[in-house]
């Protein structure tokens, strides 16, 4: 039951094959079993069971609220949840219990979804590994998959397997792991430079970054307001469309959401792709790209071509400036957004009380990790009067050029762009931490961050397993607010590639016994 898609389990609930409470308990039990993944910061067991009870009553009266009624979901711990601790994986917000729900959380709850818990992330979503949060790194469920372990056994003999667990990618690694490990059917992430698509690709799930302005950010604790978008993790493209249909739309509390009414996102089954034009941006063919991903990318292009689609090489000439531009804009907004964490109204407050300034300084010193502090310092530097023109204004101009690259490509008749999501398959934690957060973020966001600068919708779809038995994903980028078209194409592609299901169950049990031994 837990391995099913959201739509399948929803049907099962409707048909009475399982009750919401049973489903909830199964997920809770799996969350406990997979605790070692560190996917959840907070498990909201009581809340979920109570919601399941309510849902059950509705199903009994045949008053189901829709697809999401009784469906276990998880939410990244940077979305405000009323009455449930929201930490951003930071000391600064340990113990902070918001008095309100983020709009997207409220919308899920209004549809009868069961909130299983809050998922782990890099502190304040700053990172690309889900390794830099105060609650420790998230482990990729594929590290324990049958597919991966069997391949490793062939290679390594007698090495400590557990020390070679893989990262989930980030920053929404907890949400990706939660969906990948079957502990929920959908999860919310956030995506500022790739934070949803990157872990989706690493964990073999669908990761959708909707168009900027389509989904409310109200209640999402911001990283970069002008790029942040709530992201959606599901096991298939259809499920992502269902969740997007629920989340999308104008929110009076978020002035950057579009006013136009939104129709439900029902994806047609595309049978004919011959009218489509798929763009392959040549700048995305970088030397760092693993040969496996590269060949997968080209195979995918061929798949479209053989289906009759027009596949053309396109150019996004300002791509190479994206990373440095992103760093200036991101750190500048971070410097601004983090200014509110001063220990006065909420969150951590130090013991020092000699002066307000000393209190601020010590609170922020204790509350933030080095990554956050580094970005705050860099951002404040860029915003200084003497630097503003040279850095911030220039970066804004470059951002415009990057966005225009996409506009030009789409205006030339391209429907979607097909690109890699990340450079390679998931890498072991011990490898990952050999480089610092900044280097890793810059490396891992190269295919994803430009999309955020342009506000476009993009989705990472799991495609195949690598030689090592690890998931590889590819990304589709659509025109602004053409999320439905994007997902329709992704759905066709998903159907062609038939990505294998993670084989996890026995290995979880294995791991349990392994843990007990050690």
């Amino acid at each position: 039951m837990l391995g099913r898609t959201l739509r399948e389990v929803s049907a099962a609930l409707k048909q009475g094959q399982i009750t919401p409470t049973e489903l909830c308990q199964k997920c809770l039990s799996l969350i406990k079993k997979t605790k070692f993944l560190n996917a959840y910061i907070t498990v909201s067991e009581e809340v979920a069971l109570k919601q399941a009870e309510e849902s059950e009553k509705r199903y009994k009266k045949d008053h189901s609220l829709g697809y999401l009624d009784g469906i276990p979901v998880a939410v990244k711990d940077n979305f405000s949840t009323s009455g449930i601790e929201t930490t951003c994986a930071s000391n600064m917000l340990k113990g902070y219990v918001p008095p309100y729900n983020a709009t997207v959380v409220q919308k899920l709850l209004d549809q009868g979804a069961l909130l299983m818990g809050k998922t782990n992330l890099d502190e304040f979503a700053m990172g690309s590994g889900s390794t830099d949060g105060v609650f420790g790194p998230v482990k990729n469920p594929w590290s324990y998959s049958k597919q991966y372990r069997e391949k490793r056994k062939q290679k390594l003999h007698g090495e400590n397997e557990d020390s070679h667990w893989l990262i989930t990618g980030g920053s929404s690694g907890g949400s990706a792991a939660a969906v990948s490990a079957f502990t929920c059917f959908a999860a919310l992430g956030s995506d500022t430079g790739g934070s949803t698509r990157n872990p989706a690709a690493n964990c073999g799930v669908v990761g959708l970054k909707p168009s900027y302005g389509l989904v409310s950010r109200h209640g999402l604790i911001p990283l970069v307001n002008s790029m942040d978008v709530p992201g959606i993790f599901t096991r298939c493209v259809d499920d992502a469309a269902i969740v997007l249909g629920i989340l999308a739309g104008h929110d009076p509390k978020d002035s950057t959401t579009i006013q136009d009414p939104i129709k439900p996102f029902m994806l047609p089954n595309l049978t004919d792709v011959s009218k489509l034009c798929i763009g392959i941006p040549k700048e995305y063919l970088v030397p760092e790209l693993s040969s496996e991903v590269q060949s997968l990318w080209f195979k995918a292009a061929n798949l479209f071509e053989s289906g009759g689609a027009k596949v053309i090489e396109v150019s996004l000439p300002h791509t190479s400036y994206s990373s440095v531009c992103y760093q200036v804009l991101c750190t500048s907004e971070v410097a601004s957004n983090m200014a509110r964490f001063d220990g006065l109204e909420y969150g951590h407050r130090c013991d020092i009380d000699v002066s307000t300034e000393a209190m601020y300084a010590a609170t922020r010193q204790e509350g933030f990790n080095d990554v956050v502090k580094g970005r705050i310092l860099a951002g404040n530097f860029f915003l200084l009067k003497e630097n503003y023109e040279n850095y911030f204004i220039k970066a804004q101009k470059v951002r415009r050029l990057i966005a225009n690259d996409f506009v030009n490509v789409f205006n030339s008749g391209v429907d979607v762009l097909l690109t890699p999501t990340i450079l390679s398959e998931a890498i072991p934690y011990v490898e990952f931490i050999k480089e610092d957060n900044r280097t890793r973020s810059a490396q891992n966001d190269i295919f994803t961050q430009a999309v955020n600068m342009a506000g476009l919708p993009a989705v990472s779809v799991p495609v195949a397993l690598s030689e090592q038995g690890l998931p590889l994903g590819l990304q589709f980028i659509g025109r602004a607010f053409c999320d439905q078209q994007l997902l329709t194409i992704a759905k066709w592609f998903e159907k062609q590639v038939q990505f294998p299901v993670i084989q996890l169950q026995e290995l979880i049990d294995d791991h349990q016994s392994f843990k007990m031994k050690s």
Partner: protein, 591 residues
């Protein structure tokens, strides 16, 4: 910019200095009064200023002062600029705080339409260009009453620019010369107010009240077109009247709804502008004028003594009457402005640019707001001058005193007396009483109706003007009695029996032949003596004017009518034995 040259200063009336235009060089002495309202312990400073002024009088070192203002006016609205919290003065601390106001993470600003309309209307009333597109920015600084660590303001592209504010200054010996001035308005921007910080020194704690945090402010930036405290204070007063007329701000300085920062510098005419200082948080017109004038003199003195002016922020110590430097930390900051990413550009339309399918609830139309602008104070004053033949300075006073215009209009409505008479009574007698007791118009014990009735009695010569003053005083002391009741109780009505009056006059003249002789010889005091005697005999009920017209018993002794009426007619209060009801003249506040 034609800035007057500060050469010397007259003694302080309410707003301390007068500004003397470059042209008027008629000598005035060195300041005789101190600028410090007679506060002790300031003499030495005053004397130093005096010596500076004396030096200036020689014409060798003329100084020009340049004053610009930044005015923050709290927008009169039901809810805050970016949140739904109510706006209410003097609510219990932290009772009007939304999640956004407390800067809870994840909350976003939502612009209040009313605040935008208020800004547009204020901009239009101040002759500004309204920017069809304006932007919001974050201005960063750490302060305990600024929960987000930044203030949302309009630094780059404000909602209104390039306006002007006309105001009038009264000068001359009797403050009767009205000079019109204009100050350019650089911009009007929408921004958030901060919360309030209370330092509890006793427990060494800082207490924060966020009720005010996030209330909409209009920051009005006045170009440095002013040159002294009085000009600045008068300009601020005019702005205050405009805001109040528009209803865009209650603009009560005492409640902090209008706060002023002044930028001040001095230089020699023809030379570049001097280094400026900023005097912050001036919350009364009087302190504003005092602080500016003090700061100008301080800078002049500093420079004349070979010192230099630091570009610093100062505050006004109203107890000492001087400006003092604020802590350095607060003075120099890099605010690290950044565009507010959570608010799209603010787009405003006019009837020409309004999209056809626009929802009127969702768009703001400049032309519609223009239609809603009520009568502005300058027009009201013009009307008063036109309609009632009022002197311009009187129209200024009528508007400057809160509630006085309404009082005046209510009296006018109910009385048959001449408007000039009403003006004189309202501005001299009524206002004089108020000032003497330091009362607001709304606190007056005399209602407009009572004054109107009194003026009616006077108008139909039922009482003398002396008696009218007496009745007014009674009205002031004894609430509840009507003027007619007072007149009747005190037997103040004039003798209406003309024949009896004539007889009485003749009898007095007969009794005092010597005085009559003196009068005939042309002694102007003689007739006053005779009138006085008649009045005494009638217990003040004889009408002096009527007496004047009593024909002499002897036809040859034709009185002074033709040649000397002006000269001999007693000016009303002069021979008046009635008790003195006016406060001493020098204590009266003049416009």
């Amino acid at each position: 910019m034609a800035a007057p040259v500060l050469r010397c200063c007259c003694s302080g009336r309410r707003w301390a200095f007068a500004c003397i235009d470059r042209g008027s060089r008629h000598g005035r002495g060195a300041p005789t009064g101190s600028w410090f309202c007679g506060k002790r312990g300031q003499r030495s400073v005053a004397q130093q200023l005096l010596s500076a002024a004396q030096k200036l009088r020689k014409g060798e070192h003329e100084w020009t002062a340049v004053v610009g203002l930044e005015i923050h006016a709290q927008i009169s609205s039901n809810s805050k600029l970016f949140s739904g919290s109510k706006v209410h003065f003097a609510a219990p601390p932290n009772s009007l705080v939304s999640f956004f106001d407390a800067s809870l993470p994840g909350t976003l600003p939502v612009l209040n339409r009313r605040c935008v309309e208020a800004a547009v209307m204020t901009g239009l009333a101040l002759n500004c260009h309204i920017n069809k597109k304006s932007l919001f920015d974050r201005k960063h600084y750490f302060y305990a009453d600024l929960p987000a660590g930044y203030q949302i303001t309009q630094q780059r592209l404000p909602i209104a620019v390039n306006g002007s504010l006309a105001y009038s200054i009264c000068t001359g010996k009797k403050q009767s010369q009205v000079i019109s001035k204009t100050v350019r308005i650089k911009q009007i921007q929408l921004e958030q107010d901060s919360g309030k910080t209370l330092h509890d020194d006793f427990r060494s704690q800082t207490l924060i009240d966020l009720n005010r945090a996030g209330i909409g402010l209009l920051e009005v930036v006045l170009e440095p077109d002013m040159s002294c405290g009085e000009e600045a204070a008068t300009a601020v007063r005019e702005l205050q009247l405009i805001l109040q007329a528009l209803g865009t701000s209650q603009a009560i300085m005492a409640d902090g709804q209008l706060r002023v920062d002044a930028n001040i510098s001095v230089h020699h005419p023809g030379e570049p502008l001097g280094v400026r200082t900023e005097v912050k948080n001036l919350n009364s017109a009087r302190f504003l004028a005092k602080a500016i004038d003090y700061e100008i003199q301080r800078q002049i003195k500093e420079l004349e003594n070979g010192g230099e002016i630091l570009n610093e922020t100062r505050s006004f110590d109203y107890k000492l009457g001087c400006t003092v430097p604020m802590r350095d930390k607060e003075g120099k900051q890099d605010y690290r402005f950044i565009p507010e990413p959570n608010l799209p550009p603010l787009v405003i339309y006019d009837s020409a640019s309004l999209p056809a399918n626009a929802d009127p609830q969702q768009v703001i139309n400049i032309d519609r707001i223009r239609e809603q602008i009520p009568e502005l104070p300058s027009v009201t004053r013009e009307k008063l001058v036109q309609q009632y033949g009022m002197l311009p300075e009187h129209s200024l006073t009528l508007l400057n005193e809160v509630g006085l215009l309404e009082f005046f209009q209510n009296v006018i409505k109910e009385t048959r007396a001449e408007p000039k008479k009403v003006t004189s009574w309202v501005l001299n007698t009524f206002l004089g009483f108020l000032k003497q007791e330091n009362l607001a118009v709304s606190e007056s014990p005399v209602t407009p109706s009572a004054l109107a009735e009194l003026l009616n009695l006077l108008d139909r010569k039922a009482i003398s003007s002396a008696a009218a003053k007496q009745v007014f005083e009674e009205l002031w002391r004894n609430e509840g009695k009507t003027p007619a009741q007072i007149v009747s109780e005190k037997q103040l009505e004039l003798m209406q029996d003309r024949e009896a009056l004539e007889q009485l006059c003749h009898a007095v003249m007969e009794e005092h032949p010597q005085v009559v002789m003196d009068m005939k010889k042309g002694n102007p005091r003689a007739i006053n003596k005779l009138i006085g005697l008649v009045r005494k005999a009638t217990l003040n009920r004889a009408d002096p004017t009527a007496m004047f017209h009593v024909p002499p018993p002897d036809a040859e002794a034709e009185p002074v009518e033709a040649d000397g009426r002006e000269r001999h007619t007693p000016a009303s209060p002069h021979p008046d034995p009635a008790p003195r009801v006016l406060p001493p003249r020098d204590q009266q506040r003049r416009p």
